[in-house]
Structures are given as structure tokens and as C-alpha cells.
Amino acid sequence: MSDRLSGNEAVAYALKQINPDVMGAFPITPSTEIPEYFAQYVADGEVNTEYVTVESEHSSMSVCIAAQAAGARAVCATSSAGLALMYELLYIAASCRLPVTLACVNRALSGPININNDHSDSMGARDTGWIQIYAENNQEAYDNFLMAMPIGETPSVRLPVMTCMDGFITSHAVENIELLETEVVRKFIGEYNPENYLLKKENPLAVGPYDVSPYYMEHKVLEAEAMKAAKARILEVATEFEKISGRRYGLFEEYRMEDAELALVLIGSTAGTAKAAVDKLREDGVKAGLIKIRVFRPFPGEELARALANTKAVAVMDKSEGFSANGGPLFAETRSALYDLKERPYLIDIVYGLGGRDVKTEDIEKVFGRLANIAATGEIGPVYTHMGQRSKEENA
């Protein structure tokens, strides 16, 4: 079914098709439209979701945690400061092994206060124990959301899933989209049948008990193992999804990487812009390619190392500033992943696009120009730089 929808409309529509049991709803730009559109579906009786309006994101996530523990399928949407206000609850959802689904519409996390896109909100939540899947466009935002529950609810995984899309760039842009039929979606998602839940009268359950030191470490190992298990499950679900949609997804997307010597590693909508730049460079005979990370948690380290093994120079592009003074979070992961390779490409980090700073194909071409120079001379220059800011000095 072909349509034209914005990213937010697409996720709201996915929610309508899924018909979850509970939504914890609190608005924040640019994710507001998701609960807004969904409220209309509730009001029109198109879903029978318990729509719980609350006074903060701390509470919307609390609603989801409680509902999921009770045995319901719970969903939520937020951005930026809203995600930050959920911070404690994100850990609770994950450590209680409650597969809540959250649509994160990425927006810069203050300050100075800003409503536009970067990944600082979800990157700040990268170590909370949530699976994180990022979208390049409205189609992927829709598809990823549909795949979230079959991944998170799997007994061997049992982890919450955050599907992320770029605020405004994806959430508010209308583009063509292929939607699945609702019956197909419902069959794909299936019923949520946890083995144990609070409202199961046959066996009373305690969720989230105090954990003393003799047990805490073991529970964290269990959680870490679940995150490891998620990788295989994500691929399994992608295979099942391909059968109903014809659209193929992996842990990351390799674009023109077959013989690429110069490559980018990046996340989100910029990957689309970069693909156009890669196409242009390929026409000029440059062996350019890119890897778009789709699944950031669990991080596909070994797979990424294999995919980059034959490149000469790689630029990791971070759309968040981690303030490590040593590069952004995607760079840290990528560099760590490459450590075990016998021969490693040159690797630089470019922090870009913060707070909605636009990225043009020309900007990406310049990055490839820098990579070509590094590959040719072996002179790597500064490893960690920023791109797109006004500066007295010339920069890449």
C-alpha cells in the first residue's frame, strides 16, 4: 500500500496497526505528533489502547514499566529532555527485563536549548540496556517500529527497544512510504504472551526486588547475555520481515562497500545524503562507500570490523558530541571494533550536524577528499575534529 507520510505519521500508523495495550503519553517536540495522532485513533475507536496521559516523561515511562510488568504491551514516544527525564526508568525497564517499545525522535539535548536534530539524547541513553535501532527515513522508522516488539519480546532477549529517527529531518518530512496491510502487521507482531506477569493469578510475581551484592552481578550478566542474544534475534526478525515486506535489513547497511577504499560510518538521515555523495564520487572513479549503522545496541563490532577490513581510510561521523575529548560515541565503538584487525584502516572522527546544523552532499564530498588525502599520504592529521561550525581557521 503506497502512501506519503512523515516519519511521525508513519510511526503513529504503525502503532495503530499494532494496537498496543497501553500508551504512556507525554508530548515533547519533535515527537509530540506521535501521541497526538495516536490519540485521534483512540478517540475514533480505531484501537482499544489504554491511553494514559501523565505529567512528565518520568511518569510516561513508569506507566509503561508498570503496564508491561502487569502483562501488557506498552509503548511510548519521546525526544531530548524527555528521554533524559526518563533516564532512571530506562535502566529499570531494561533491568526488570520488560520489553517496552519507545519511539525516540532524536533531538539535541540542552543546552543551549534547541529543538533540532542530533543524536545526543539517545546516545546518552546508549548504556541503559535498551536495544537501539536507528532509521534513515520514514520507511525505516515504520519498519523498525514494527520489528521492535518481535525482537524485544523474545524470551531469550526480553529487553526494551528504542527505535530512533532524526527529529524534523525524518519526523516531519513527508516522503513516499510503503505500508503493510494491518492484518499482515498483526500476524507478524503476534500476541504478547509473557510467561510470567503481575496479573497472572496462577502465579503471583514480584518484579524489581532489591538486589543485594551476592546477586546483582549475576543479574547484570544475565542482562548482558540477553543483549548479546539480541543480535541474532534482530537478524531473524529482519528475515521474517523481509518475507512480508520485501525490504531487507541487517545490523548495518553497506552501501557500495564491495571494493571501497574510502568509507564513512554514520547513523540516520545523513546516510541518505551521503549515499548521493558516494554515487557522485563513484562516477568520478573514487572507490567510496559507506556503512550506515542501523543497530547501535547491541553494537555489531565484529561484523563492522569485517566490513571495514579492506578499506584504507575511514571517517566515523558522530552526530553527537560525547565530550570525552577523545571523539564521539560511534567513533569509540568503531575504533574499539577495529582493534582486533591485523591491518587496520586509518580512522578519523568527525562530529557534525549538532542541533540541526544541515549537512549537504558537498560536505560529505569534502570528508571523502580528506580521506583520499590520508590514504594517499599516510598523514592522518588531527583524529578528532568537528565539521560545519564557523571558525577562524579553515576546516574540513
Binding site: I115, D166, F168, T170, H172, A173, E175, T273, V359
Partner: protein, 194 residues
């Protein structure tokens, strides 16, 4: 039409005039007609009257570029007063056109366009919408003018598709559809090209 089959349009308007809505409507209608489309506004802390920008890409294959548009084929100015403060022709491609909402003629407008030598089109969107719709809703006339001038969509097909889109959008108040359709047709007839 632009090179490589993709048409890029930049809208300039003020918060509340419907430039964003017209941009998204154009994307919807062009998509309905079988094109690959993008329609997206540039967001900030918007308020009534503040200058805003919105963008369309329309092509035969899916466009993956998600940057703003810096070298548009067409520029649509929904509010004439924006000409004084904003470089609306900035980056506008030589073979392209600017379409301005004004009671003035293209010849009268040209001196205000900072040396722009390409096509200038004008339409009195305010008058047309006030006459037919009874309100100053300039975005529908501007959309019609853009279709006429750019030829990015076949005009007759566009009218059929947009009526379909209106039926969906205004399911609760079908009485507004006819007025909008009359407005579109009149605007296509009245746009002046110079």
C-alpha cells in the same frame, strides 16, 4: 525542469500563511500521481509572522538526500514583504523561476529581486483567495501557480489528484473542497509570467 529529472522547490512564507501545509500538500499530491517526493519545513521556534522556509523535491526515483535545498529550480514567495529582508533568489538556478504573491506585475517586481535575470511570475493570491474562499489563504493559489509555471506535474492530473487528497483531508467539511478547486483553476489561469 531541472537536470537529472529532479525538481527542487523552496517556499518562503510567514508562520500562519500555510506555506508548510502547501508544501506537504504538494508532496502528497505529487506522490499520489506516482512521483517520488519530499516535503519538509525548516523548523525553528516558529510563531505567527516569522519567516519560514519549506522545501519540496519531486523526482522519478527515490531521493535519499536529506539536506535543505540550496540550489532550487523554483522559489515560491507566499508573502511579498519577505523580499526586503530575505535573499529569496539565493541559489535559484538560472533556468528556474520565482513565483511571488503580489498584485504587481512581473515587470514591477523584477527590480526588487537583486539582479535576478531569470523568469519572474506573479499572482495576486490574496485577492483570489479572498474573492473565492472569503479569507486570505494564499497558499492554495501559490500551489496552483507553482504547478502551472514549473510543469513538474501535469496540470489536469494534478487537479484530479488534489481533489482526491482534499476529499480525504476535508472528509468532515466537504463544502470547502469546491471553493478550493475553483481557487486552483482560477490561479492557474491568472498567474503572470514575465
Amino acid at each position: 525542469m531541472a537536470t537529472n529529472g529532479m525538481v527542487e522547490i523552496r517556499w518562503h512564507g510567514r508562520g500562519g500563511q500555510g506555506a508548510k501545509s502547501a508544501c506537504l500538500l504538494l508532496a502528497d499530491v505529487a506522490g499520489l500521481g506516482g512521483k517520488f517526493v519530499q516535503g519538509f519545513p525548516e523548523y525553528g521556534p516558529e510563531r505567527m509572522g516569522a519567516p519560514i522556509t519549506a522545501y519540496n523535491r519531486i523526482s522519478e526515483k527515490r531521493c535519499t538526500i536529506h539536506s535543505n535545498i540550496y540550489y532550487p529550480d523554483y522559489v515560491i514567495v507566499v508573502d511579498e514583504s519577505l523580499l526586503d529582508g530575505i535573499d529569496v533568489t539565493g541559489g535559484l538556478k538560472e533556468g528556474g523561476a520565482i513565483i511571488i504573491n503580489t498584485p504587481s506585475s512581473p515587470q514591477e517586481m523584477r527590480p526588487r529581486l537583486r539582479g535576478w535575470t531569470g523568469k519572474v511570475c506573479t499572482i495576486d493570491a490574496r485577492r483570489i483567495s479572498e474573492e473565492i474562499l472569503g479569507k486570505n489563504l494564499p497558499n492554495t493559489p501559490m500551489l496552483a501557480a507553482a504547478i502551472k509555471v514549473s510543469g513538474v506535474l501535469d496540470a489536469e492530473r494534478f487537479l484530479v489528484d488534489i481533489e482526491e487528497s482534499f476529499k480525504h483531508k476535508f472528509a468532515d467539511k466537504p463544502e470547502v473542497i469546491e471553493g478550493n478547486m475553483v481557487t486552483l483553476r482560477k490561479s492557474m489561469a491568472e498567474v503572470q509570467v514575465g
